[in-house]
């Protein structure tokens, strides 16, 4: 049994009277790719927001490498090694492509304002390292992000490349656990296929443990070691893709019950 990286233990979150996530248990093992699926409003993105500290759970515990993340600020959780992308792209659009990635190195670097103002040798060395590191992160995407000049503003990127840049930025915080929120949303079949491949490479070459929300079942089938299905904030199925895809509760959640369908 592989080492557990992330443990979500009995987590609940209510918005007013609405239980968005209810008593959820998910484990993610080291080096695993786990997909979270479920209809819209099932609580998938909320789960990500809980893990990254944007929301605080009403009950339960979220544990990363044996230490609880509950109560930490999002940036502290990022420094613990959790990074994410957003379903609705949240790039720093008016900054250059490479600066987007460089900015995310904030947590791993140290030069203070005073040293920056004086541009001390140590600060300049660190700055070179950040740039080098950011170029490596971008180079991971091969030719796709190579076509651009990296000093162009991020808004000049096409939609698919914005998604890629977001992943590059997420990896620049030096995470161990990567949360990808619908990485293939809005992409054409070729690009979707590429993203699926990329996620595999992120695990194999980058060594990240990956939790991914995805609607495209081909992607989910291709990449997942395990699939977790949510509906109304409750885990309704867990297992390999085939197990989950044939699970009657999952089919019910996506397609409705037979009674409802025949009505």
């Amino acid at each position: 049994m592989a080492e557990k990286r992330l443990e979500i233990k009995g987590v609940s979150l209510n918005f007013g009277g609405l239980a968005v996530v209810a008593d959820l248990d998910i484990d993610v093992n080291e080096g695993e790719i786990v997909s979270v699926i479920g209809p819209n409003g099932a609580g998938k993105t909320t789960l990500f927001n809980l893990i990254t500290g944007i929301y605080r759970p009403d009950a339960g515990d979220i544990v990363l490498d044996g230490k609880s993340l509950v109560g930490l600020q999002p940036h502290q959780i990022s420094q613990r090694g959790v990074s994410r992308t957003f379903q609705t792209l949240r790039l720093f659009l008016n900054m250059s492509v490479i600066e987007n990635v460089m900015a995310a190195a904030y947590g791993n670097t140290h030069a203070g304002v005073l040293r920056s103002m004086l541009r001390t040798p140590g600060m300049r060395r660190e700055e070179r390292e950040i740039r080098e590191f950011a170029s490596q992160r971008l180079a991971f995407f091969g030719e796709r992000l190579m076509g651009y000049r990296w000093d162009q503003p991020a808004y000049s990127l096409s939609y698919a490349n914005r998604r890629r840049l977001e992943i590059a930025r997420a990896t620049a915080t030096k995470p161990t656990l990567l949360l990808l929120d619908e990485p293939a949303a809005g992409m054409n079949p070729v690009e979707t296929h590429e993203i699926a491949e990329l996620i595999g490479r992120l695990r194999d070459e980058g060594g990240y443990t990956i939790l991914v929300i995805e609607h495209d079942m081909h992607v989910v089938e291709g990449i997942s070691d395990r699939v977790v299905a949510l509906d109304h904030g409750v885990k309704i199925a867990e297992g390999t893709f085939d197990e989950v895809a044939t699970n009657s509760r999952v089919i019910e959640a996506y397609l409705g019950t037979k009674a409802a369908a025949t009505k």
């Binding site: 720093f92 659009l93 920056s116 103002m117 700055e127």
Partner: protein, 490 residues
């Protein structure tokens, strides 16, 4: 699409098919590099490093005292340098941090008052400059930090209101500070008027030399400006600067990417406040007095105009903004120069609006004809209607066209003023030929109001000009003169 044809012809038709990404990349790159005969020159100018530009700029600014011996002009130059420093400081908070700080000038005032207390007869404290200036800068930074503490969870309009309250609070304390628990601290509404000039090692930096503004302060201010510019540029290109800009772009994403957003906001506030306080020191030491009302809305609006005009977020931009607005506000004090500016702006605006179309000629000709006709009618009614021109120069020329009454009846200013606003509003509602017909009378009425009403009251007129500049800017270049193209985050 037509203007991209010469570029696309460069790529061989037999080459590989251009994918969408590549096309976008090439298109963006083409946009960055301008074509035409000026392109090689522009490319070469781009290659000049920033510090060469800065040295050149400061060098040229240093030449000002050599060009003119007028104490007035030198003082305007000095004020402009202070404006440039203030604009740079505000740019940290607004342009990089993305925090709408309407209390900014309070820090400027705080710096001025702090220096006044540290080097005046108020409490008979006389600290040398090398002690007083760092102390004031630290006070400014701490004040910025403290204002940031309750405001760090606010953004947008909420933050604006809280900071605006802070400005009002500063005003109230400064104005009523002549009896704080029975002690006269700030001198109340009359301020402190025994502030000593900057001094160090037994030497005073004189404020006036034989009754004329001493140019040494100009150089001191320029020196500090260069220092601030270099320091801010270095910070902007460091991890802190990137984090500030990330915070402006998307606070949630910045936080999720490991940047402590709250701490960064506080730092940005403190930075801007420290720069404002430093500027306040130089201002107070030169003016020899500090008054509460110096640090109020008018100044706030002026500095915001500079930052917005130049391009919030761009250091070169905000300096340019200060360089344009500072002297412009001074020029508008003088009716004759004000008049020249008005007509230049009017003609410039018309050319911009109509380009080189036939309609431009029609509008100009119609306006001229309309003016001559109106003047002839007015002159025929009574001679005194057109006998008002007293100044020489441009007014004399204009008076052949414009009605300039000798005595302005009491009802004319308000009626014509409201009239020009109403006609301008109607103009925005109508389209096509009707607009073209209405335009000449509107222009004529505007010229009438400007010459007869506004020029007699330069002060409101100056700020109306500021407002018009901002409106024009919003239409023509919403990102400011040197601002980068901006996209709004939805």
């Amino acid at each position: 699409m037509t203007d991209s044809t010469p570029h696309s012809s460069e790529t061989p038709a037999s080459g590989p098919a251009v994918g969408q990404d590549e096309w976008v990349a090439r298109h963006a790159e083409r946009r960055l590099i301008r074509g035409g005969p000026l392109a090689p020159m522009e490319e070469r100018l781009r290659a000049v490093p920033w510090w060469v530009w800065l040295t050149l700029f400061v060098g040229v600014m240093c030449l000002l005292p050599a060009v003119t011996a007028s104490g007035y002009v030198r003082r305007v130059g000095f004020d402009t340098v202070l404006y440039m420093m203030l604009a740079l400081g505000l740019n940290v908070v607004v342009g990089w941090g993305g925090l709408l700080d309407l209390g900014y000038v309070a820090f400027y005032g705080l710096g001025a008052y702090s220096y006044a207390l540290l080097d005046s007869d108020q409490f008979h404290v006389h600290l040398p400059a090398y002690v007083a200036i760092p102390v004031v800068v630290v006070i400014g930074a701490i004040a910025g930090f403290l204002l940031g503490l309750p405001s760090r969870r606010l953004h947008g309009d909420y933050l604006a209101i809280v900071t605006l309250f802070f400005l009002q609070l500063f005003q109230t304390i400064a104005t009523n500070g002549d009896s704080i628990f029975g002690h006269n601290v700030t001198g109340g509404a009359f301020g402190i008027f025994t502030v000593k000039p900057l001094h160090a090692f037994g030497h005073n930096l004189v404020v006036q030399h034989q009754g004329v503004f001493a140019v040494s302060y100009y150089f001191v201010a320029l020196g500090f400006f260069a220092l601030i510019y270099v320091a801010l540029r270095f910070v902007n290109l460091s991890r802190t600067g990137r984090a500030w800009r990330s915070l402006r772009e998307d606070p949630l994403a910045a936080e999720a990417m490991g940047m402590p957003v709250n701490a960064l906001k506080l730092m940005s506030f403190a930075f801007g406040a420290a720069i404002a306080a430093l500027t306040g020191t130089i201002f107070a030491s030169l003016s020899a007095s500090v008054l509460p009302l110096t640090f109020y809305f008018v100044l706030l609006i002026t500095i915001y105009t500079m930052v917005i005009l130049g391009g919030s977020g761009s250091m070169r931009g905000v300096v340019l903004g200060a360089l344009v607005i500072g002297p412009l506000l001074e020029l508008l004090r003088d009716p004759n120069k004000s008049r020249i500016i008005f007509y230049v702006a009017l003609i410039g605006g018309l050319v911009f609006a109509f380009r080189r179309s036939r309609r431009l000629g029609i509008v100009v000709a119609a306006t001229l004809a309309f003016g001559f006709a109106c003047r002839a009618i007015a002159g025929a009614l009574h001679h005194s209607w057109i006998a008002g021109s007293a100044d020489g120069g441009l007014q004399h020329v204009v008076s052949y066209w414009l009605i300039i009454p000798k005595h302005l009846a009491g009802w004319i200013p308000p009626v014509s003023y409201v009239g020009v606003i109403c006609v301008a509003l109607v103009l925005t509602l109508v389209h096509g030929r009707l607009r073209l017909v209405l335009l000449p009378p509107t222009l004529y009425l505007a010229a009438f109001v400007w010459d007869n009403v506004m020029l007699t009251q330069p002060d409101p007129a100056r700020y109306i000009v500021l407002g018009l500049i901002l409106i024009a800017l919003m239409i023509i270049r919403p990102n400011g003169l040197l601002g980068e193209r901006r996209v709004e985050i939805v």
